[in-house]
Symmetry: C2
């Protein structure tokens, strides 16, 4: 079965579209990523999305119209990824569309009830592509009392759980986050927590000292030396050794943190600072494994995703800190793609719903039970029942 997964994140970079071939379902799912594109938003649509996100600038007409506009753009992204892969649209079997989240309220607030709102009209996508669409994945989990997020745990379980290997899925976005998948795990054996900073400190140092957005390929960090005093200072941050469950955000390791650091260590050369915060990021990840995961769970592989997987210096540091008994791999080395991860996840969730199977993880979202996520919209000519 050929499925396109569509995701449009809060960063508003555009629509991620992954074309995958998928057979079977559940743990028997065979997944192969065929192609991936990011379809950028036209400037005016990006502005309308930003308007729609805020209580002060949103209104019903804007949301009504934008829902249809985004439906059109999701269908264009679908056509583009199929064309790039050389797959005729008529051979596409299913689309799984996360949509664009414009509001997410996990908890009651005054007279506003827990609820979530994704837009990108599935009827428009189904009509324009002539393909069945599964969409609105988060609402059913919330109807069942969950927070509607995270929905990735089920997909990580299906894609990475192994009969013979314990695996860690390390995401390195702004923040570092690890999902633990013991060998032969059940869904209940999985757990996840934030390890600490991801690219956040590295990127901020790049901006302040090198006027670059990030350290491409880790090239700058590769040329410097670790300053042990700075490294010790960083590692003394109480978050690193605090016990999971734990989660962090931009407030602990953001701009203010880096400004204080640069002031305190202003005599250290810029290159060495970048090398040292890269090592700190690697160590914060590995120290968390050593303290909280490795003592109780046998781990053979660490699979790294997110923007940080493209920082070769960071990856090499992690591998070197872990030693030879653990293999560090990137999503790309497994035939996936860090960029495509979420789009692939929604292709996989669509596949489950298409087979009438639940795919939320109640222990992750807080839902009262496992439920079938999303609804299905039928195109005019094929997919009739």
């Amino acid at each position: 079965m050929y499925i396109v997964g569509l995701m449009s994140g809060t960063s508003l970079d555009g629509i991620d579209a992954a074309l995958v071939r998928m057979n079977n379902r559940g743990l028997k799912t065979e997944t192969e990523m065929i192609d991936f594109i990011t379809h950028p938003f036209p400037k005016d649509v990006e502005e309308e999305i930003i308007q729609s996100l805020s209580v002060n600038t949103s209104n019903v007409q804007l949301i009504c119209s934008l829902n249809f506009k985004l439906g059109k753009l999701f269908s264009e992204a679908t056509k583009e990824v199929c064309q790039k892969a050389g797959l005729p649209l008529k051979d596409l079997d299913l689309i799984g569309c996360h949509g664009q989240t414009i509001y997410h309220q996990p908890l009651q607030e005054q007279n506003m009830v827990p609820s979530t709102l994704q837009i990108g009209e599935p009827a428009v996508i189904a009509y324009e592509t002539n393909t069945p669409v599964i969409s609105n994945f988060r609402t059913m989990d919330m109807a069942a009392g969950g927070q509607g997020a995270p929905l990735v745990p089920y997909t990580e379980y299906v894609l990475y759980r192994s009969e013979s290997k314990g695996r860690l899925l390390q995401n390195i976005g702004g923040i570092g986050n690890v999902t633990v998948l013991p060998k032969q795990a059940t869904l209940d054996d999985m757990y996840a927590f934030d390890t600490g900073p991801g690219n956040m400190i590295i990127d901020e140092v790049c901006r302040q000292l090198f006027h670059r957005k990030y350290d491409e390929g880790g090239e700058i960090a590769k040329q410097g030396h670790v300053n042990e005093e700075l490294l010790s200072h960083c590692l003394s941050h109480p978050y690193i050794m605090s016990h999971p469950p734990k989660s962090t955000g931009r407030e602990l390791f953001g701009k203010q943190y880096v400004e204080n650091l640069l002031k305190k260590f202003e005599t250290v050369p810029g290159q060495d600072i970048l090398t040292t915060v890269t090592m700190f990021t690697a160590k914060s990840i590995v120290e968390n494994y050593r303290a909280f995961i490795l003592p109780k769970t046998e781990i053979e592989e660490v699979i790294i995703g997110g923007g940080g997987s493209y920082n070769n210096t960071l990856i090499e540091m992690i591998q070197s800190l872990l030693g030879d008994s653990v293999t560090v791999l990137t999503q790309e080395e497994l035939g996936f793609s860090s960029e495509a991860k979420e789009a692939i996840a929604f292709a996989l969730l669509a596949n489950e719903t298409f087979h009438g199977k639940p795919s939320n993880v109640p222990s992750a979202t807080g839902a009262k039970k496992a439920v079938i996520l999303g609804n299905i919209t039928f195109p005019p000519l094929k997919g009739s029942r």
Copy 2:
């Protein structure tokens, strides 16, 4: 198959829920209405709906939360009508929910594209009732280039088309509207137009002269006499004899029209005025039949729906004007209900979608082709595929 149809109209009276038994589909559909209720909106929800309708008072948080609140209320209406009928919820097979329209923009306006927005989260309805839900009927017709309305023609075709009788479906709401269903009609043989005033003039005269909202059962009109001069004046309105297709709204026969009438005929007793405008309403309907329908189409039955079907004086006038060759019936006499008409329509449209069949009428909505309306949301335990 037991189906609940749910409708919540722009009048904000509450949620109409009709429980029907339906077998087969298309022209073979057998429909029996089992029960009907109107579930009123709590005052605060009604106020939130009103807020959500306007560009000035709506916002994304309100719409996100209200979508879930209405989902809950639609599920309560479903439970209530099943309980009233003594049907255990577990025996309910399907729900068709129109939802609450909060915006409908059939045509492009500046940078806002043609679009429509109905809310009342189907995941909440499906979860709370444990029943599959078909919802969002209008979006696919708009995706196909239609105006998303009217959707009733298909349901009228299925419910009233006859092999042996030509039928007129006369709706008497504020405005009068007739749908023509010739004997052995195809969908393309159907057509509809506004005959002129429905209850609009009668109700406004009641308010101004009798301080009542309407003439209950036609009791006041029954006691007066027709004033021929006033009647001739009314019948001279150019709308009555103008050629279909034609449509009218509140602007032609509204408050201003009645005020002018009462001023010009201030010497006529109030009761006679009411009797005369009731006769005018009857005549405007029947004259339209005589001029534009009966010369070319054989008609055996006129089936009257809408609030006007409860005005016995009006119905008797229509019957008497038509003579014995045509039988005038109300929805109630056929086992249906004027109040329940739209809720039944969405049960029927859900039935078609559940069978994978299109149910818009492109000649009525302007869509480029027939499409499958709505999407399906599956409950946690039954309805899995």
